[in-house]
């Protein structure tokens, strides 16, 4: 008897451990996100400190002055005026980003993964001693450059080489003599994996600003005994109105804040879904665990009741256990999160090649508070129903085996249906987009459908899991396993529901993703009339016209023999419409007459006139016009990056298609108001019988001077679209992995309980001749049935959800077809089955090792 209860306690501890694991995963991802953000933030702060070393005061243009068009410049005299009393050194800032050297070996542009590619002007030694010459000398005349050692390594260049460098603003590549290699103070090759090209100052000014003798800002160093604040106050009055002075420290803070904002978004979007999935799945796991624990302790609880404990005391004792599990889980989760954050910070910088200075580990208060709050709340919430159930154990149960048959599933199923049916209706409502409640209705609907199906799943267990069982339950042991899975529909359903969550998410995402891919493939091939397509990989930000290829390059393409027509598309998203910042529209301008554009993109006119696009006119797709309430003939005020606001008149609309949606086409002259003059896409139509390969090769050659620009056929365009989908799906698949992991623990949990409960049965089966392997197969089959059942429920809900979402996207012409990726879904089922096998390994081993005699012996 003692042995039995000890064993019970032990297995309970084990089971609680599984609940703890669920909490650890959830809180781990949650706190990990914050630790990662803080740690990376600290490293960035350190980076800015080292960049701004010795800088007491920094002069930059004010925010307002850079808002509209060309930023203001400081003249030589204005910089000289800053040499006030207490200023040890003054240096005008000549710098630009997007200066891209080409690799000496293969001729490809040297690119970084997100870190800037900086160009600067120098006049000799750096008065702030941030950079110093390590080899060769400073550039002293036009046509000479020095580069950082990191850049030299990347470009495989050495002093004396002729280095090709792409220059922004002039938008062309030129060759320079490499006269020096520089390093940062402390003999560092780079600050954070950026490239650096230094020109003679006057040449840099000519290239970056279009004239010599001007600066974009200035740096001032302080004499000893003069504080940065004093110096700032001394130089501030000397500045023109468009400039402001701040101390080096203030500058650091401003830069660090901007970076931190981006970082926290990154980690929220990256870790957020993981934390949510882990917590959601964890709720099911914990719920099940406590149910099991309560069931096992029924006798003990009944004894407490018989001895006069009130039901609140009994429920309380269960909840105390829950709080304990929550605290332990949250503590371990927090530790895991700290590890995750630290590893993530190392991994991220390693992956991106961003070489940030180390700054130790930063753990704020927020992740700690959050981990404990979420950990304890989730556990107590999940344990609540089991606790109430525990309190309803009749005292009589202490005296004898009280048969507690499964409650009928009717109430549960009615509640489930009552949730699922209106849920479906709500999803429908949300998708048709009635009123402003679209998103809330959709989310609420999805939640209700999900819960409803979860509640209905016990009812589905017998028919659906039975069907699965018929497929996987081979032989006597297999059939016994299937019977066991069907034995307690509630338990099987709750276990399966944990898996269902993850699979629902992933199936829905897969359906939308597959629909998107199919749509793009169809649309590009049916509507785009070009044979050769030039694209710019927008790796860093939305297009503004600052990356891409020049109009001159496209002119060259037109002259290639075999080219019938060629079209450049200039794109920007940097605009204000009627005084409000643009959220979702893309603004395109084209260098050809509009009929050519119309043919090339296969546009179908809806209203107005698409035969010409004159000054001050624009066209857009039907949905955009409808959505914004624009009628043909309306005047719309649009302010682009430069040149202020001006009125454009809508002259025509065309049918929305998935690739022509949310786009406003402006006349060619609008390009001068874009932030940069570069086209981001080019469409080349070949003449009848032209050699496509030869033309493509020639176009490639012409475009080779422009970093980030690639040349390909239509399928390359499809691939580029698809690559976004693939990245999103890859993240979703990792999510699935996590969900499966947690669900696996749930299955493990359920199996352990079943084995514990059925010890005597197992002994009897062994006594009548079932082999160890047979026992393992029996347990494995039960596990696989549960896993596949959960997976199929998830696929059913997920595909329905994905199809509904796709249908909504078709409604707004974002998609044109629904495609269900059956192969991937079949893969999920297979994965679930394998997970089922994996989850069963240990319980099956335990079951097989049971001593036959111990199992059948009764106390």
């Amino acid at each position: 008897m003692l042995r039995a209860s000890l064993r019970g306690l032990l297995s309970r501890k084990l089971r609680l451990t599984l609940a703890v694991v669920a909490i650890v995963l959830g809180t781990g991802f949650l706190s990990g996100a914050f630790v990662l953000t803080d740690t990376l933030g600290a490293r960035f702060s350190k980076l800015f400190e080292s960049i701004n070393q010795n800088v007491a005061v920094q002069i930059t243009p004010t925010d307002e002055s850079t808002e509209d068009g060309e930023p203001p410049r400081l003249t030589q005299q204005q910089v000289e005026r800053l040499r006030v009393d207490g200023a040890a050194a003054v240096q005008g800032d000549v710098s630009a980003e997007g200066v891209v050297p080409f690799d000496m070996r293969d001729g490809d542009p040297v690119t970084t993964s997100g870190t800037p590619q900086i160009g600067g002007g120098v006049t000799g030694d750096d008065p702030f001693s941030l950079v110093g010459v390590a080899e060769g000398r400073w550039p002293t005349r036009a046509g000479e450059v020095a580069i950082s050692r990191f850049t030299a390594e990347q470009a495989h260049a050495a002093v004396g080489d002729r280095l090709k460098i792409y220059l922004p603003r002039v938008n062309e590549a030129r060759e320079f003599s490499l006269v020096g290699v520089v390093t940062y103070s402390g003999d560092r090759d780079s600050l954070a994996g950026e490239t650096l090209v230094l020109f003679q100052e006057a040449e840099a000014q000519q290239i970056f600003y279009g004239r010599t003798g001007v600066y974009s800002g200035a740096f001032v160093a302080a004499d000893e005994g003069v504080s940065p604040e004093q110096l700032r106050d001394r130089v501030a009055p000397l500045l023109p109105a468009e400039f402001e002075a701040m101390t080096g420290e203030e500058a650091n803070e401003e830069q660090a804040n901007a970076v931190n904002e981006g970082l926290s978004q990154l980690s929220t979007y990256f870790f957020g879904p993981f934390a949510i999935v882990a917590v959601l799945v964890g709720i099911f796991l914990i719920f099940n665990t406590f149910n099991i624990v309560v069931a096992q302790r029924a006798r003990e609880l009944a004894l407490m009741r018989a001895m006069g404990a009130s039901w609140t005391q009994v429920a309380g004792s269960v909840l105390v256990e829950a709080v304990l599990v929550g605290v332990v889980g949250a503590t371990l989760g927090l530790l895991a999160g700290i590890g995750l954050g630290y590893a993530g910070s190392a991994l991220l910088t390693g992956l991106l090649g961003v070489d940030l200075p180390g700054a130790g580990l930063t753990v704020g208060v927020l992740p700690v508070v959050l981990a404990y709050t979420v950990g304890i709340l989730v556990t107590v919430f999940s344990a609540f129903v089991p606790a109430v159930k525990a309190s309803s154990v009749p005292p009589l149960a202490a005296m004898r085996e009280v048969a507690r048959p499964d409650k009928p599933l009717r109430t549960l199923s009615i509640v489930g249906a009552a949730l699922a049916v209106p849920g479906v209706a709500l999803v429908g409502l949300g998708l048709t987009g009635v009123g402003d409640l679209t998103l809330p209705a959709l989310l609420l609907g999805v939640g209700m459908v999900f819960l409803g199906v979860a509640l209905l799943s016990p009812l589905l267990t017998r028919p659906l899991a039975g069907l699965i069982g018929r497929l996987v339950g081979w032989g006597t042991s297999g059939k016994l396993g299937v019977r066991n899975a069907l034995r307690n529909p509630r338990r099987t359903a709750v276990t399966a529901a944990a898996l269902m969550i993850g699979v629902t998410l992933v199936s829905a995402a897969s359906v939308v993703g597959a629909s998107f891919k199919t749509t793009i493939d169809q649309e590009v091939n049916s509507s785009i009339g070009a044979d050769v397509i030039v694209q710019t990989n927008q790796t860093q930000a939305a297009p503004t016209g600052e990356t891409g290829f020049s109009a001159a390059a496209m002119q060259e393409v037109r002259e290639v023999s075999g080219v019938e027509r060629a079209l450049s598309l200039f794109v920007t998203v940097d605009a204000e419409i009627e005084g409000r910042a643009n959220q979702s529209l893309g603004f395109g301008a084209l260098d050809q007459d509009f009929p050519v554009v119309r043919d090339m993109f296969g546009m179908t006119p809806v209203e107005g006139d698409l035969s010409a696009l004159g000054e001050g006119e624009f066209v857009t797709d039907e949905n955009t016009a409808d959505g914004r309430g624009w009628e043909v003939g309306d005047q719309v005020a649009i302010a682009l990056s430069k040149g202020g606001e001006r009125q454009y008149r809508l002259v025509g609309t065309f049918e929305s298609t998935p690739i022509l949606t949310g786009t406003v086409f402006l006349p060619p002259s609008a390009v001068q108001n874009f932030a940069g003059p570069l086209a981001s896409q080019g469409y080349v139509d070949l003449a009848e019988g032209a050699d496509a390969a030869a033309v493509t090769a020639r176009v490639e050659q012409i475009m080779s001077d422009f970093p980030l620009v690639t040349v390909g056929d239509r399928s390359s365009l499809v691939e580029q679209f698809n690559s976004f989908v693939d990245i999103a799906l890859a993240i979703v698949v990792v999510l699935l992995g996590l969900a499966i992991l947690v669900a696996l623990l749930g299955i493990l949990n359920t199996l352990l309980l079943s084995i514990y409960e059925r010890t005597r049965e197992l002994g009897m089966l062994r006594a009548v001749g079932l082999s160890r392997f047979g026992v393992m197969r029996m347990v494995g089959t039960e596990s696989v049935v549960m896993a596949v059942f959960g997976c199929l429920l998830g696929i059913a809900v997920g595909v329905g959800l994905g199809a509904a979402l796709s249908a909504a996207l078709i409604d707004i012409d974002f998609l044109s077809t629904i495609s269900v990726p059956w192969l991937s879904l079949a893969g999920f089922v297979l994965l679930a089955a394998l997970a089922g096998v994996a989850a069963a390994l240990w319980p099956a081993w335990r079951a097989a090792r049971l001593n036959v005699l111990d199992a059948i012996a009764y106390e």
């Binding site: 062994r766 009548v768 001749g769 082999s771």
Partner: protein, 256 residues
Amino acid sequence: MDATGVAARAADLWKVYGSGEAQVVALRGVNVELERGHFTAIMGPSGSGKSTLMHCLAGLDSVTRGQVYIGDTQVTGLGDRGLTKLRRDKVGFVFQQFNLLPTLTAAENILLPLSIAGRKPDQQWYDTVIDTVNLRDRLGHRPTQLSGGQQQRVACARALVARPEVVFADEPTGNLDSRSGAEVLSFLARSVREYGQTIVMVTHDPNAASHADRVIFLADGQIVDEMRDPTAEAVLDRLKGLDTPAAAVPPVGSER
């Protein structure tokens, strides 16, 4: 079947639990032969080792020393695989309780050992067994829908349907009311008399033992006596002698 042969035997069987101070000797050199086609009952006070003897004979428990044979097969020394095969082919069990799988119908429970072994039932024999236990109208029921006596009859049918060398029954009537118990016992006795089945039963109930052909009395890990064609009264008398502390009755020594 050779009705005069030996279905199972134990030679110099020792079973010791634990070690050192806590050492308990459950069986001390037991020698016994169980005749084929006989119904043998093993009796003795609690702690006499009667259950241990049966478990060792059935290959459910390992022995410390000595040999056990079932038919020609030496049970002692068999690995798990061998034991599994032995249970499939040569042994049937009836336990006191927890005898049936609740997920299976009565018929499925009866056929379970054959199904596990992957053998086809002998339809004629199956029908004979079903009719003998009088369960034909209950075959589609689940154990929870059957009375205790019916459940135990299902268990007996299950043990018999594979025609094992020996059926081991561990207190088969322990959980039953006297009427149901008598039904089960008479059925077991019939299977011995009419079909030549060998049955070994552990029991503490003299009435149950009176159904057997032979009763073996165990005390303190040794066989102290045996009785042929017992009656309930004779068994009870003999047991009363054994129930007094072991010292009062000097061990007679096991028969050779």
